[in-house]
């Protein structure tokens, strides 16, 4: 494959091809643009460093997606630890800053949906984003998250239920 002949060109191709998709994957997890930029760069550095180890029996995008998600979740865990003794949770802080974010591209309904998603546990949030926004198949999700399809279906079902409960008028 051309990555063996010209790894720099292969990497340049990957960045150009996937930077935008991976940006949105990470952005929906971290919400904040600056954090997303940081983690997107870290993800591509990991991809660059491990390009030789990439096994072609798994899909390239699935592999990159998994790296980006792992990096984002690790960052999220670290941030959450900083808020352990805080009056508000890290998710509440993100929720509050949502509409003030200059790069939030939605109306009040979109903001309410994002706040509902932020209330979900990490795994359910991830599964919901993959299925709802990225239209991923359960097979692909199972490969990325290393989880059974049944568990993913159940997780998505619970996530939708919780979100709809949150969106329902009081």
């Amino acid at each position: 494959m051309f990555r063996e002949e010209n790894p720099d060109y292969a990497f340049h191709f990957l960045v150009k091809q996937y930077q935008e998709r991976l940006y949105h994957v990470i952005r929906k997890i971290l919400i904040n643009h600056d954090d997303t930029d940081d983690i997107l760069q870290e993800s591509f550095i990991k991809i660059y460093q491990n390009l030789d180890n990439f096994r072609e029996d798994s899909g390239l995008f699935s592999w990159m997606y998994r790296i980006a998600v792992n990096e984002a979740l690790n960052f999220l865990r670290k941030q959450k630890r900083k808020y352990v003794f805080s009056a508000i949770s890290y998710e509440d802080k993100l929720s509050q800053s949502l509409t003030a974010d200059a790069y939030f591209d939605g109306d009040e309904a979109q903001a309410k949906l994002q706040r509902a998603i932020l209330k979900l546990p990490h795994k359910q949030r991830l599964v919901f984003n993959m299925k709802y926004y990225d239209n991923m198949k359960y097979d692909e999700m199972a490969e990325i998250l290393n989880t059974s399809k049944g568990a993913l279906k159940a997780s998505y079902h619970h996530a939708v239920k919780k979100i709809e409960k949150h969106l329902a008028p009081d």
Binding site: K28, Q110, I163
Partner: protein, 136 residues
């Protein structure tokens, strides 16, 4: 109808204008910086062990020099003692003249003991029945 279906499905976030155009350049800068940091951090990680090894080598070297000096000194002292002993023996021998050796050898034999009296000789010869020799 479900409430979720009423919300248009679209990417809720956008990136700043021109963000993706400059992303690769910033990424390359960061990768280069990271490589440099890794080189530095590798040296930083190895540095304490290097200094410890150098310190240990210096200690061993100094100990070796100390031991060599001690053993050299000890060997010299014992060698000097041997030389001194052999030299003193030489000087002792040097002061012994041939006359002294002769005197020493002759002194051990008392000459008076060697001079037998005529009576003693006569008695011995008569005992051996060869007293005729006395008159020859």
């Amino acid at each position: 109808m479900k409430k979720l279906d009423n919300i248009p499905k679209k990417e809720p976030f956008k990136a700043p204008d021109g963000y993706f155009d400059s992303f690769e350049d910033r990424l390359k800068t960061r990768i280069d910086a990271k490589k440099e940091t890794q080189r530095t951090s590798l040296w930083q990680a190895v540095k304490p062990y290097f200094y410890f090894a150098a310190f240990f080598a210096a200690i061993v070297f100094l100990l070796k020099i100390g031991i060599n000096q001690f053993t050299d000194k000890y060997n010299n002292e014992s060698q000097n003692a041997n030389i001194a002993q052999s030299e003193s023996l030489y000087y002792e021998y040097e002061f012994i003249s041939d006359d002294m050796i002769y005197d020493e050898l002759t002194a051990s034999v008392d000459s008076s003991d060697n001079e037998l009296s005529d009576e003693a000789i006569a008695a011995y010869l008569s005992e051996e029945e060869i007293e005729y020799l006395l008159y020859e």
